[in-house]
Amino acid sequence: MGLLDKLDTIAATRETLLPEGINPFDVVIEEIHSATEGTIDGHRVVLAGTNNYLGLTFHPSCIEAARETLLSEGTGTTGSRMANGTFSGHSALEKELAIFYDCSSAIVFSTGFVTNLGAISSLAGPGDVIVLDADSHASIYDACRMSGAEMIRFRHNNMVDLEKKLSRLGPKCKNTLIIAEGIYSMLGDCAPLVEIAALKRKYGAWLMVDEAHSMGVLGEHGRGLAEAVGVEKDVDFTVGTFSKSLGSIGGYCVSNHRKLDLIRYISRSYVFTASPSPATISSVREALKVISAEPQLRIKLWENVDQLYRGLERLGFELGSDPSPIVAIRVPTKENALFAWKAILDKGIYVNLVFPPAAPAGLSLLRCSISAAHTPEQINFILKTFADLKPMMTDAI
């Protein structure tokens, strides 16, 4: 068997999965007009699947901050954080993140994905145990594998299963890192963090929460689910991304354990990859200020969530979770998902199409993410379109 033969299977799967003319995984946004509008295939569409929860990609002060830095510091750092890639902006952002989270230490990485790779694989190693939620993001799974730690999965949000697994570990719990997410990226459901924190305390384990989709969305200050449910003190490590609410790219890990700082020296994805560009860092610093200074964005986001969620509920759709900025519609088959996705796009709305294994539990999903920047009219348009296409989305093909 030759090196590339295995790709034939992929090609065959793609053929059966993607009838001619429909390839949801090859979408090009030809023009981007705003946080909620773009041009795809020559047509202007409403973007309802971009994780741009606060709409900050087009916030004037974030753009201005990035523009100024672009002109003064150039297009890139051309080096890793460990070598020549730490500019004063990177250090300042770490201090600001630590203040934002009221934590002693913060580290900035190049993306959320490599944050997980670097942080998890440095914090846990051979002889340690990681207990992760079954629906964890791919970056968490990959990081666990890289770490060399024993890797134990608990059923999604199932506290009975988590407790069973912790209780079996006995004294190993003091070397055990539990990992959960604030809001799960596919179904939009939250982790039962109060219960997880209680189990963490009971068994003396450590806790990491990935707030990728909940930072800027939940909590009085927008710090995420741990803040919203009052368990920040129990969270040993918070990780997150700049690529969603903060409207940019990059990632972070914050903690009150001062030793966190030492993982800079051993995180391969910190040492061996270039740091975010100076302009990127400036836009993130500004976005962090906006999150604090403009809490009305969060209020607007939740009003929009409410409008879409209640509307879809009234239309009788089966939704993935309680209200959240990720609204996932469960559809009966892959074919339903595919044809409906295309029909929705043709009517002028972009949503995410998610198949298993990216979607959990064998589900096919049409996943919307809502932004504070959506207007009530855009959300009504989404609701009307979904109402028109409902049979395609709900009657099994």
Binding site: A134, C144, E150, M151, I152, R153, R155, K164, K165, R168, P356, P357, G362
Partner: protein, 84 residues
């Protein structure tokens, strides 16, 4: 670990594999979970959850990289049961 225990585990696993694979084929020591029984990652995870319940064990995901045949599976379960 005695042969009897191996056989006892084998029998339980056999029924479970057939149920998940939805196939009527003979299950032998060298039956391959992916190539012969058509398991994909999703089905495998679902079956592992049931195995954890039946034997009251934790199956570490690290063991997946050494799981190919039915014999691998039975031996892994035997070892976990023995170790807990």
């Amino acid at each position: 670990m005695t042969t009897l225990q191996y056989d006892a585990i084998f029998q339980q696993i056999e029924a479970l594999l057939l149920e998940y694979a939805q196939l009527q084929v003979p299950i032998q020591d060298d039956t391959d979970l992916i190539n012969d029984l058509g398991f994909d990652s999703l089905k495998l995870m679902e079956m592992l959850e049931e195995v954890e319940d039946i034997f009251d064990i934790t199956y570490p995901l690290n063991d997946l990289s050494n799981l190919h045949t039915v014999k691998d599976f039975v031996l892994q379960i035997q070892q976990i049961v023995g170790g807990e």
